[in-house]
């Protein structure tokens, strides 16, 4: 084999692996990305039931109900609209009413949301960035949410 042929094999296999990984990436991006939406987005965009999304906002004060067998219900609001969320499991340490939260799960036909995971902030000064942006959009951003620097 000449130097040229060997280099062709090398470049060819490089391109081959690149093509395989590009295919894998495109395929995975089609199926496994999840969009973030605020409650207002869900209503305005008329997102179809059964769609997997991340729902973010504040836990509406006074809506948290703990049921039997670790079932929890609460509403997520961005100040304009609110969506009821059902979750079964243990809520994060820093989950509180009036605080930012992101829930990932499926929209149900009745307009409620079935959460599979619930994420809250990591410490008392942290507000999920998506939630902060959604609140700003609805004009409900308050300075007190800003980090106490």
């Amino acid at each position: 084999m000449t130097r040229k042929q060997r280099r062709l094999i090398l470049i060819g296999s490089g391109l081959g692996v690149l093509a395989i990984s590009a295919l894998l990436v495109l395929n995975a991006l089609r199926d496994s990305i999840v969009f973030f939406n605020s409650p207002t987005d869900v209503i305005e965009k008329k997102i179809a039931a059964g769609t997997r999304i991340r729902l973010g906002g504040l836990v509406k004060p006074g809506t948290l109900v703990r049921g039997e067998e670790l079932n929890v219900r609460f509403e997520v609001t961005d100040g304009k609209s609110a969506i009821p969320v059902a979750y079964k499991g243990i809520l994060p340490d820093l989950f509180r009413e009036g605080q930012g939260v992101i829930a990932e799960g499926l929209l149900e036909p009745a307009g409620s949301f079935k959460a599979e995971t619930v994420l809250a902030k990591h410490d008392e000064t942290y507000m999920p960035k998506e939630v902060a942006d959604a609140l700003k959009k609805q004009g409900h951003w308050k300075e007190e949410y800003e980090k106490k620097k």
């Binding site: 296999s13 990984s21 395929n27 496994s32 809520l91 008392e124």
Partner: protein, 661 residues
């Protein structure tokens, strides 16, 4: 006063870094020995001043000097001493100071132990290294000064984020930073080689120990971060494909590829241009990781505080070094000489295979991490790319690596014998098949992929030993002879085998944990019991206990197996009064390499408590594998070849022909 000394020392370090970034480079250009000799003392001085600065900040923390803003915001007088010290880097400013401390340490090590380097290469390397130091020290002084004072200091501090009040903070960031920043040396060597326009096998021999050192610390740092998240967050998960985790995985993949391509370059003088590119990319990924974590683009527990001016500054550093490095590469790489030839089936070929797939895997992680950021910047839509994406991309690309890995060390350089290697791996393949059959028989209707995964892990682990078994002839000769042969083998052969074994071990742990792990989330009243795997857990009741700066409520669980009490577990919740936050402290029971994991949820008004219980079979193999890999790296690092004998650069006579075959 101490804070001011620290600040002043940092300014002096910046001054020295600028001198070191200019004089030696000019010296190397003009072949002026006096100018080149500036590099050594300035590198040592720069390290000394940054060390003084770091010591000053540490002293402020130990004394709880709350007139320093950084200490006030991140410390508390009641905090245990270990967290006062580790709290120094538990915040943005301090962690950047640790970053430059390690950067300067590496520079000083090259200055002190690089005596066998050619003078111009050493001057160039230290000059380039110093540019990185200058940029980051300027970043600290300009946007993240840890020594700022408050007028009229408060009496008490605001305490450290409780999640960080853990031994993990004392271990994980330093290990990870030594890994991240250690790659800067490979980068500086690559840029220095491009500046000189000359590169040879000796270059690879100098770069390899530094890359290996960085790699082994990076391996430990990533594993430690994973284990910390596992026990501290209370979710029982050990890898979330979080962008911050990916930021540490990408440099690791690139560094792993670089280690392997540097071997080809050192032994066969081939793949030069590619190795230089990888060295630039590996450190670029470290910088991108630093940018992602520190700029506030992502929000996570690692983002201590975001400030737009910092993001812009780090982005500028990023563009300067990555853009500059790649531009220099594009300009100078074509002038580098072509290396030796090799057949596709050969040791080199196997290492190229490894490099192709590692970089492809690294690229998919890169896409998955940055795609959401790009989409948000372009369309405003917010998306998240989670575990399913990485399972579909990273997974399939890693399988061929593990499959081919045992073949690599068995193939000869230049032209290998695939059939011969396959014959020597027959016993490994047979054991893998047995493992698959046994798994299939026991697990039965479980996931189809699991037995294959187990088979692959066993093949990788046994196959990793094939080279050692062959070379010591342990199956054919008397044990004493085999032992003598084993002693005579180069340490790098042992290192390779052990590191490859480690990756198989990690894979085994990952497959067992993710396939046969059990998760139970239940609500229990006192004296109620629950069965998980073969263990019966009885909830006995709650106990309150106060720590130095928190209140703790624990739940007492008695664990029985077959009716006998084998352990009492006390998972707890801690409430940190200063920050009004709570953390979950999971309780772990280790049996062999498997763990029972109990973590508390909320207490209900009726006296019951929510609790998560996991049984995680062989979960410790995940991190043990990483430790084994790092140990393999350490053995390789102590190889005679890298210690003894100053490597000589290839003869400059450009007329000599390369050996054709």
């Amino acid at each position: 006063m101490i804070a001011e000394i620290g600040h002043y020392a940092l300014v002096l370090a910046l001054g020295l870094a600028i001198i070191q970034g200019v004089a030696p480079l000019i010296g190397a250009r003009l072949r002026d020995d006096t100018l080149m000799a500036v590099a050594g003392p300035t590198a040592l001085g720069q390290f000394a001043f940054i060390a003084i600065s770091f010591a000053a900040l540490t002293a402020c923390y130990i004394q709880s000097d709350f007139s320093v803003v950084n200490v006030y915001e991140n410390s508390h007088s009641a905090k245990p001493l270990i967290y006062k010290i580790s709290g120094v880097w538990g915040n943005h400013e301090g962690s950047m100071l640790l970053w430059v401390l390690i950067l300067a340490l590496f520079g000083a090590l090259v200055a002190a132990f690089g005596g066998n380097l050619p003078a111009t290469l050493k001057a160039n390397v230290l000059g380039v290294q110093s540019w990185i130091a200058a940029a980051f020290v300027a970043f600290i002084l300009g946007t993240s000064n840890p020594f700022l004072r408050i007028v009229g200091g408060p009496l008490e501090g605001r305490d450290l984020n409780p999640i960080l009040q853990d031994i993990g903070l004392a271990v994980h960031p330093p290990l990870l930073y030594i890994g991240y920043v250690g790659l800067s040396i490979s980068f500086s060597f690559a840029v220095a080689a491009l500046i000189e326009g000359r590169i040879d096998a000796a270059w690879a021999r100098w770069v390899r120990p530094w890359t290996l050192t960085a790699w082994l610390f990076l391996t430990l740092g990533v594993a430690m971060g994973s284990y910390w998240a596992y026990y501290e967050l209370g979710w029982g998960g050990w890898w979330f494909w979080d962008p911050v985790e990916n930021a540490s995985l990408m440099p690791w993949l690139a560094a792993t590829a670089l280690l392997h391509s540097a071997v080809v370059m050192e032994k066969r003088n081939a793949l030069k241009v590619w190795t230089v590119l990888l060295a630039i990319l590996a450190f670029s990924l470290s910088l991108i990781g630093t940018f992602l974590v520190r700029s506030g683009v992502l929000t996570s527990v690692h983002t201590f505080a975001s400030d737009p001016s910092r993001g812009v500054f780090i982005l500028a550093i990023l563009i300067l070094f990555i853009g500059g490095g790649l531009a220099l590469y594009a300009w100078r790489a074509p002038t580098l000489k072509q290396g030796g030839l090799f057949a596709p089936i050969s040791r080199e070929g196997a290492l190229v295979f490894n490099n192709l797939f590692l970089t492809a895997a690294c690229a998919t992680v890169f896409v998955g991490t940055l795609y959401p950021l790009a989409i948000e910047a372009l369309t405003g839509a917010k998306i998240s790319v989670g575990a399913p994406f990485f399972n579909l991309t990273f997974g399939p690309l890693f399988v061929p690596i593990l499959l081919v890995m045992p073949f690599g060390p068995l193939l000869a350089w230049k032209r290998g014998d695939a059939l011969g290697a396959a014959q020597r791996l027959i016993s490994a393949a047979a054991m893998a098949l047995v493992a698959m059959a046994v798994t299939f028989a026991i697990a039965g209707g479980g996931p189809v992929l699991a037995p294959f995964g187990i088979g692959l892990a066993v093949f990788a682990m046994v196959g990793a030993m094939a080279d050692l078994i062959e070379r010591t002839a342990v199956m054919r000769v008397a044990p004493a002879v085999a032992l003598t042969r084993a002693r005579g083998l180069p340490r790098s052969a042992w290192g390779t085998a052990i590191a490859h074994f480690g990756i198989g071990l990690t894979m085994l742990g990952i497959i067992c944990e993710s396939t046969w792990g059990i998760e139970r989330i239940v609500s229990l009243k006192p004296n109620e019991a629950v069965t998980v795997s073969s263990y019966d857990l009885t909830f006995d009741g709650m106990i309150s206990r106060d720590g130095p700066n928190y209140r703790q409520v624990s739940a007492k669980f008695t664990v029985r197996q077959g009716g006998n009490v084998i352990e009492v577990m006390e998972p707890s919740k801690r409430n940190f009064t200063t920050r009004e936050t709570s953390t979950t402290e999971a309780a772990l029971m280790t049996r062999g390499a498997s763990q029972l994991y109990v973590s508390l949820g909320d207490a209900n008004p009726d006296g019951s408590i929510a609790v998560r219980i996991y049984h995680k079979p062989l979960v410790l193999f995940i991190w043990l594998g990483a430790v084994v890999m790092a140990f393999g790296g350490l053995l390789s690092l102590t190889d005679r070849r890298l210690r003894v004998g100053a490597p000589k650069p290839a003869r400059k006579s450009r007329g000599t022909l390369q050996p054709a075959e």
